[in-house]
Symmetry: C2
Subunit: 432 residues, 2 copies
């Protein structure tokens, strides 16, 4: 192991990071093959047992978390950072309940997605199967250990988790509960593993381990995602950024627009579905814009506007070109007046991140033009962009919101952690 500052637990003698990942990878592959053939009830039993184990271990988990927090504090972690890292009884209970909720979801494996019979009598079906071994690289929140591990397990996948170094001991304590649950259900504990070192070289080794890991899911800030995108030899299911727009059309109901815009920006400013840019139809510049801007300012939001927006309120500061492409994740909004729905679509295509974009209008034709014209994972008519969330979609928990274009877009829940195979049943057919 290299890395002077890194923590490593249970190392094998003389093993470097590549060898460590290969060891975990072989165990994960074997576990994945076992899981792929396991029935739904056994997986659900493991998830429920894991929930019980995590509850039973809450004192030990809080102890480990206190150690993590002490180290992070000593290293000068910010309050916001320490807050994300902190676990309490309530958080542990929520984590346990999350696993029970995942157990209650429909089994995503073995669904017949399509079936048909060919003229030669071959019966073809497309059946959902697990993805295989999923590598998850995440930053500090320790509860991701249980959330992500549980989702992977439900979908029949093995998981190799690489947590942020600051949550290493907390994550490890939570993992012990997950693995005890797996064991209680007779499943291999290697189905969910945690990389046993905080050495950064382990991330590089994971990204090269295509022989053992089928998909990498990175969860974290933009710089982490960019590093992983650059280095990975393994396909990614990634969430890059949410530069989300709300467009208020000339035909928008004013009261609805005021309620929805305020919610879309200010309900929680730090989530990826928060609106970052407000576009307002020039036809509504006199009627809607002043009130929308005043509401936001009064709620404590900084408003950065184009000239037309600055004209309605002296508190609006000028927006620069960079503002149209910024994910603030904060109480800041960029506001621009545009010439109708097609101009709004053009702005979103040019500056958006294909995450979540909404139109507010009573004009059905404008709504359809927008829903069709934006190339967003989630296109919304008359509702808040903050609904961009697997739970709000009714999909249960999610491992993230995909912003790529292959495999999955939007919330990545248990269904999106599967793929399919074709099963072909014949009676001796040969190909002519």
């Amino acid at each position: 192991m290299s890395g002077a500052q890194s923590l490593t637990l249970d190392p094998e003698a003389g093993e470097d990071c590549a060898e460590m990942i290969a060891r975990l990878g072989r165990a994960a592959r074997a576990a994945a093959r076992r899981l792929a053939r396991v029935d739904a009830e056994t997986k659900n039993r493991a998830l429920r047992a894991a929930a019980g184990e995590i509850r039973a271990r809450s004192a030990r988990i809080l102890e480990a978390n206190a150690e993590d927090l002490a180290r992070a504090r000593a290293e000068g972690g910010t309050d916001a950072f320490l807050d994300r890292l902190t676990l309490d009884e309530k958080g542990i209970e929520a984590t346990a309940r999350g696993l029970e909720e995942v157990a209650g979801l429909a089994d995503p494996v073995g669904r017949v997605l399509a079936e048909w019979t060919r003229p030669n009598g071959l019966r073809i079906s497309r059946v959902s199967v697990p993805l295989g071994v999923i590598g998850i690289i995440y930053e500090s929140r320790p509860n991701v250990t249980a959330d992500a591990g549980g989702l992977c397990l439900k979908a029949g996948n093995a998981a190799i988790l690489r947590c942020g170094s600051e949550s290493f001991l907390s994550s490890r304590a939570i993992l012990a509960g997950l693995q005890a649950g797996l064991g209680a259900a007779g499943l291999p504990e290697d189905a969910v593993q945690l990389v046993p070192t905080t050495d950064r070289a382990a991330v590089g080794a994971m990204l090269k381990a295509g022989a053992f890991i089928d998909v990498i899911v990175p969860r974290g800030g933009k710089s982490l995602i960019e590093r992983i995108s650059r280095e990975s030899a393994i396909p990614l299911l990634k969430h890059l950024e949410g530069i989300c727009h709300t467009y208020v059309d000339g035909a928008a109901d004013l009261d609805m627009a005021r309620r929805v815009v305020l919610n879309a920006k200010m309900r929680r400013t730090g989530i990826c579905g928060a609106t970052e840019t407000l576009l307002v139809d020039r036809r509504a510049a006199k009627t809607h814009l002043p009130l929308l801007v005043r509401d936001l300012l009064d709620a404590g939001c900084e408003v950065r506007g184009d000239a037309a927006t600055r004209a309605v309120d002296p508190r609006v500061v000028p927006a620069s070109e960079a503002d149209w492409g910024t994910e603030y994740l904060d109480a800041i909004i960029a506001v621009k007046v545009v010439d109708g729905v097609e101009a709004a679509i053009a702005h979103i295509l040019a500056h958006g991140s294909e995450h979540t974009d909404a139109i507010l209008t009573e004009d059905a034709a404008a709504a359809e033009a927008f829903l069709d014209g934006v190339d967003s994972a989630i296109a919304i008519h008359n509702a808040s962009t903050q609904f961009a969330d697997g739970g709000e979609f009714g999909m249960g928990a999610e491992i993230g919101i995909a912003t790529g274009r292959l495999h999955a877009r939007g919330p990545v829940g248990v269904e999106q952690l599967t793929i399919y195979k074709y099963v072909v049943r014949g009676s001796g057919q040969t190909r002519p």
Copy 2:
């Protein structure tokens, strides 16, 4: 442009490969946005017009092909290579008819894949949309230009095609027909573009052009695919190799097994769905194995066997460990005796390429164990592995067989060239 031996047509002054790809990429992006909103009938009109244009240009296409062939011959191309490169009237007619068949397929865009309503009244639908801009990098067959371009267009995608240098003039002549068809339907000709140089640096530039290209589809030999996998910063839909197995169970019908095994290996040995390894249940070693081996040998197939197989016929040569992981694409087969269906599954998991694997048996339980246990894109019971083909699946034309695990497995037809977005319709909902 670098590359002393390379051909470049219509270069822009002083442009290097990265600039050229960026120029094509910007045009492709604009065309893709247009195509994403075009109705099915317009796309189909373009495909039919392209078929007509290709027929009308057949003399010009054959002329260009003769130039390509002369150059390839001068450079010492093998007979097999020249054969793959050669076009004739019949091949051009088949290419044109292929485009008409694609026009006749159901439109893959705008399908409602799922829809549901949330307790808060939000109506959510998952709707298929194009992938965006697809880069296709292929080797010599010039007809891929029309096949791949047509499939991309049908699915609403723009395509940037990079053909093998040997088929450059033929591909360019076919492309002109495609583009004329696009123009006739009022669609942008940039919807399908051909990289206008044979400079190899253009491939590297494509693999870095993630800002303009959403997905790369490589079509060609293993070394091409491996190079592209190594270098690409863009997600791939790739076909690596088909190490396909046929397992003859102890409960297999002997006559069916003889017919199907011979077809699976020998119908065409050069396609990816050809069986490369025959596994025979030890229970059938006396009854089935001798006849299966004799049939293959008599059909001119080289048989490389384990000790048990060599014992049944002196013409069988010894198989080495490497044979179990080799895609011969030739009249050669590796044969091994295994202890029942679970041993067959274990062999396939260890040595296969997750492409296509078949079991021949009259035992329904053994069949289900196999279909469930192999992790193949296509798992077959009682039929030939040579059915691994989009056309045989009834999907129409295919752009290849995917051997990765994300997005698509098995034949990649027009449906697999789409992804989805969520459309959410509300009535003013805000998130609590």
